[in-house]
Amino acid sequence: MAEEKVSRRDFLLYAMGAWAAVGVGGVLYGMYKTWEPLPEVKAQATVTFDISTVQPGEIKVANWRGKPVFILRRTPDMTQCKDRSIKDEYTVVLGICTHLGCIPNWEADKKIWHCPCHGGEYDACGKNIFGPPPRPLDVPPFKIEGNNIVLGEEGPEYKQMKEKGLTA
């Protein structure tokens, strides 16, 4: 008799505890959601850039998610690259050294990117040609819409490159 009572009490206590845990879970979910980036931040997730404004030999920097994206229009005297370029003469790479994350500088006379931190060098295609960088400069997700490139969205061209492992 007494034991039965205890177990019944326990069952209710456990049920209460479980139900309270559901509530705590709900509250934690709400708290979790409050830490998500604000709409104005999310609006920066994609950036549209008109690549036709870049003159041959010129390099422009787009700000995408707080990171620099180099948009270079190559001239014939620069390194050519069939595989890392969709629109023939353009190189679009994330301007962050794959070694330790510094921002490489374009050296116009040598036509290479040179990283000030540890001397890593990349050619006009973004391929690592000297120093510690383990791989070429990353290609950001992009989608081509006429003359515009939309950074942050994965278009069919980007997906193809990604499949071939050319984006990183």
């Binding site: 009572k5 019944r8 009490r9 209710l12 206590l13 139900w19 509530g23 709900g26």
Partner: protein
């Protein structure tokens, strides 16, 4: 039983207090909100509101287009915004949609006597006394012939209020710059981003219908909006001020449901534990 009695006393005290500080006190403070008068009864209705739109367009080009454009019909105003501010302290509106949002009798009378129609003696537009009643009828007919039929709340709000009011949270800037507005109206008109929360819906409808209803002596002009346009503006202001209302109402049901179950469980446990007392 005793506990229920105590609870009852508590509930009565709370309800009396609530009634006193909310519905009762607010009714004493604010009094009755005047009903909006969408027929604009004080406005003479003898000026015709129909006529020949083609003639109206000619008259418009000759008499109005130095300040007002009608973008939709390819008419550009004779002066740009800066020139307009220099002479009127406010940017005159483009009139493409004016026929859709303003009452026609109000519009006709307004053309002849803007200061009286808007209840604002300092209203910037000069009276078009040179126009005959028939001319006015033709112009009104013209403006009505080009109007867009179904403007939504946001469009109407921008057309009707956006000349002077900003809606910062919606990234809508007043057409007229702040300094000019201060010069024109005496102060910068308030931002409308959360106006839907600052004022009751009935108040807003009555106020937009005739600002003198809510703030006697205010320099905000009466705009002569139709009932439909007024309601759309107020609905829009209400919606942007409280964008999460649907989410809140839906979530509230879940939270309260959860707590009712919790109350049931805790009550059962309390019964069980307390049964063995005495």
């Amino acid at each position: 039983m005793k506990e229920l009695k105590i609870l009852l006393i508590l509930v009565v005290i709370v309800l009396v207090g609530y009634w006193g500080i909310e519905p009762y006190a607010h009714s004493v403070m604010h009094g009755e909100v005047k009903h909006p008068d969408y027929e604009y009864k004080d406005i003479p209705k003898n000026i015709p509101t129909t006529g020949d739109p083609a003639k109206g367009k000619e008259l418009f080009t000759a008499n109005c287009a130095s300040c007002h454009g009608v973008k939709k019909d390819g008419i550009n105003p004779g002066m740009d915004a800066n020139a307009a501010i220099a002479s009127f302290k406010v940017v005159p509106p483009d009139l493409s949609n004016i026929g859709a949002i303003v009452d026609e009798h109000f519009l006709a009378y307004f053309i002849k006597n803007p200061q009286d129609a808007t209840k604002n003696p300092k209203f910037a537009m000069p009276p078009m006394a040179q126009l005959s009643d028939e001319d006015v009828g033709n112009i009104v007919a013209y403006l009505k012939s080009i109007e867009k039929k179904d403007l939504d709340g946001k469009e109407i709000t921008i057309e009707a209020c956006g000349r002077c009011h900003s809606i910062k949270y919606q990234k809508i800037e007043a057409v007229t710059p702040k300094d000019a507005l201060k010069d024109y109206l005496g102060k910068v008109p308030p931002d409308l981003s959360v106006m839907g929360k600052a004022k009751e819906i009935e108040y807003l409808e009555s106020f937009i219908n005739n600002p003198q209803n809510g703030l006697p002596g205010t320099s905000m002009p009466r705009l002569g909006l139709t009932k439909e346009a007024t309601e759309k503006v107020v609905t829009y202001l209400d919606k942007i001020a409280d964008p999460h209302r649907d989410q809140r109402n839906a979530l509230g049901v879940w939270v309260l449901g959860y707590l009712v179950v919790m109350a049931g469980l805790t009550f059962a446990w309390k019964k069980k534990i307390w049964k063995n007392l005495h």
